[in-house]
Amino acid sequence: MLEYLVGRFGRMLITLWVIATVVFLATRISGNPIDFLMPEGLDAQSRAAMIAYFGLDQPLMTQYLSFWKSLVDGEFGLGLMERRSVAVIFGERVWRSLSLLSATLAVTIGIGVPLGVIAAVWRSTILGNTVLLFAFIGYAIPNFVLAILFLLTFSYTLQWLPSSGSGTLAHYIMPVMALSAFFVASLVRYTRNAMLDVLSQDYMRTARAKGLSETDVILRHGLRNALIPVITVIGLQMTTLVSGAVVVETVFAWNGIGDLLVGATLRRDYPVLQFGVLIVACAVVTINLIIDLIYSAVDPRVRLGGASA
């Protein structure tokens, strides 16, 4: 297990190094921030002065090294746009995004899995079909459309919920609903399909024959076996969730890192963009690791490290 973890960690670092380097190069190929930060009326002399001011006159290798140095010193460089430490810029926003994503994940799993089980067990009934109908609707509507529909209904017309910002619990309701609808819907469908596969297995009949209650049969023998593909899907969707958050954060003026990254991309704010991509990459790599660990907990046949096959 330890050997496995060390190996995985090493691979994680290499992945992150490759990503950081690609982002470093790609941003520099895509345009000079001067054109985006100060677009108008720069003569050659002022332009050169501003390029030096932003430190963009340094050779690429020097910039690359100082990028890594900034990661080590913990400041992560100075944002080109805001001219303050990237660590501070992200520090202000990262918890807001994490709380939104965690709430969305909790809602997704908490609602998606039970509904999926219901849709499978009560398939071909009104209940099962209703769940499936809503799952299709949730799957089909893009999150930004849903977000605007919610705004229209709950803020504009009924005036029940705050439309923008992130101060109170009430602020979470609409963004979480808008963001989780798609993921709940797809989780319902995956769980339902996985459950249907499992429900027709021989061991289910055996479990019933042993005299177990129907609840035990479905939850302990059925759901547990069905969960493996579902967990994979949740892991994959976590990464989609991050990109969904970018849109939803904009609509609800959430001021999270999604919104920050969009702005940094448009303006080619290298330090902010590099660090942002790096932490998103870190999150994805870590999630993948966690998913692998959960596999072995759910399915004892999966042995990490492969030593004791």
Partner: protein, 521 residues
């Protein structure tokens, strides 16, 4: 009911009333964009201009309710010209900065010096745009300073009323980073995050690109601010802003496009406040592009555009279509009768023949959403050009293409940075200004000489005459077509008295005494 119970009830009611009065002294504003830093000397953006006037003062004030310049004492109580190149200012005494320091003549000298004697690149740009003629500032005594210019300056008052010459505290700025006694570039960066001025509101919280919180500054030298607290926060989406306004989360929202005005004004609790903004949307041509070199071609492009029809279609007839590059805010230099831009499709066709235009494609670059109505306007322009036989292709590009050599034509804006043609036309089209710097406008020596006469003649009549000649030059060899002054709207709660004022540069949110208040219930 016992007396005691009555007393308790009465005090509860009083407490409630007090409480709501306290809340009612707050103002919440939703804006489309928020600044990344707040330093009036460094900034000239449309986003930044929203915020400075609440927290900073200039030496010379202005009556912002009037379009034309009417000067009033600001941090200077009086001023007089003691020679053609020297202006003497008497400094108001007892003025406090938000950090408690008292305003001194040194602070004023420093505020100007940090821009005119700078090596800090962002200040260099502003020096070039606004203060190239200021030579030095001398402190005569604690109450008097003298500003000298290289050449006779007809715009003295104007230059000490602009955002870039707002006064900042010297000692505070130096103390912000590095050596606390030394003036360093890192101090300027730090100031942009923790700005301090002398205005009626102090900035108590500023989160770049997110929000500003102002609080009333009780030691302000003038009339006290009407609101205890003003929170301005960014709500980038239009639907988000309108919803927040309707939902009571904010009292004022910015950037409401013409087609959404009805949605705001239909609500019995809301109204729209609109103003024709002192800013031009323009079409520009790259006169240095080999295919765009023919002045007849560019003249034809200008004559082909029916701006009145576009106004009806895009702005419900509410934008202003100027005859030339001029604003009412210019006072004596407002010249609405000069006809630089006219619609005459027959003449356009004739000029195209003269230019031997063979139908080659002209690329027109535009952003998709930067200027209100930009894309719709571009499509209409393309059709109008097409109608006289000019083949234009619209190019929507993510990156700014205005400074690329292969640009042929594109849209742009010419804001009024200060109320004089030098502060609008000049910033963009003076012989060595933005358009020249970008390499798409190279006027000849006669233009430069006329410009000098316009810029520095002491007599208004001479300046008027020279500006007319500059406009003739533009008409004859056009690098630009002025389209319109856009009609910009704000959504405002009926319980709030506020409207944009014509005496400000575009987009200023002025919440000073007499400019904003709560309607009496």
């Amino acid at each position: 009911m016992t007396n005691r119970l009555k007393l308790i009830l009465a005090s509860a009611v009083a407490a409630l009333a007090l409480n709501s009065a306290a809340v009612a002294q707050d103002l919440n504003v939703g804006v489309q964009n928020m600044s990344a830093y707040l330093d009036p000397g460094r900034d000239h953006s449309n986003v930044g201009s929203q915020h400075y006037y609440n927290a900073f003062d200039t030496l010379i004030e202005k009556d912002h309710t009037k379009s034309e310049p009417v000067w009033k004492p600001g941090l200077a109580t009086s001023w007089k010209r003691i020679s053609p190149t020297v202006m003497e200012f008497k400094i108001r005494q007892g003025v406090k900065f938000h950090n408690g320091a008292t305003l001194t003549a040194d602070d004023i000298k420093y505020s100007i010096d940090r821009i005119i004697n700078t090596t800090f690149p962002p200040y260099l740009l502003r020096k070039k745009d606004f203060l190239p003629n200021i030579e030095k500032v001398d402190v005569v005594d604690a109450e008097t300073i003298r500003v000298s210019t290289y050449r006779e300056e007809p715009l003295f008052e104007t230059l000490f009323n602009i955002q870039q010459t707002m006064i900042v505290p010297k000692a505070y700025m130096a103390s912000l980073s590095g050596d606390p006694a030394k003036d360093e570039p890192s101090d300027y960066e730090a100031f942009g995050l923790k700005p301090v001025g002398t205005g009626p509101y102090k900035v108590t919280e500023f989160i770049p690109n997110q929000r500003i919180v102002y609080e009333r500054f009780d030691d302000f030298w003038g009339e006290k601010a009407p609101f205890k607290k003003v929170t301005v926060r960014r709500i980038p989406e239009l639907s988000g802003r309108i919803t927040a306004l309707k939902n009571g989360e904010v009292d004022i929202i910015t950037n409401v496009p013409p087609d959404q005005v009805a949605i705001v004004s239909q609500d019995p609790k809301l109204r729209a406040e609109s103003m024709v903004t002192p800013l031009f949307h323009v079409v520009i041509y790259n006169t240095q592009h080999p295919k765009m070199a023919s002045k007849e071609l560019r003249q034809a492009m200008n004559y082909a555009i029916d701006r009145k029809t576009l106004n009806e279609a895009l702005w419900l007839g509410k934008a202003t279509i100027p005859n030339t590059h001029t604003y009412p805010q210019f006072g004596g230099l407002f010249m609405p009768d000069v006809k630089t831009f006219e619609y005459d499709p027959a003449k356009a066709r004739e000029l195209l023949k003269k230019a031997n235009y063979d139908g080659f494609e002209i690329r027109f670059d535009t952003g998709s959403a930067y200027y209100t109505n930009a894309l719709l306007a571009s499509q209409a322009l393309k059709e109008m050009w097409g109608a006289v036989g000019i083949n234009v292709r619209i190019n929507v590009d993510e990156a700014w293409t205005g400074n690329k050599p292969d640009m042929m034509s594109r849209n742009w804006s010419n804001p009024m940075y200060f109320p004089d043609p030098a502060g609008s036309f000049g910033t963009m089209w003076a012989p060595e200004a933005a358009s020249f710097a970008e390499g798409r406008f190279k006027p000849d020596a006669s233009y430069a000489a006329t410009w000098e006469r316009f810029r520095f003649s002491p007599k208004l009549e001479d300046r008027r005459k020279a500006y007319g000649e500059l406009m003739d030059y533009i008409k004859n060899d056009p690098p630009v077509l002025v389209l319109w002054q856009p009609f910009e709207s704000y959504g405002v709660k009926k319980s709030v008295n506020w409207q944009p004022l014509p005496g400000h540069i575009p987009y200023v949110l002025d919440f000073r005494a007499g400019k904003a208040s709560l309607a009496s219930n």
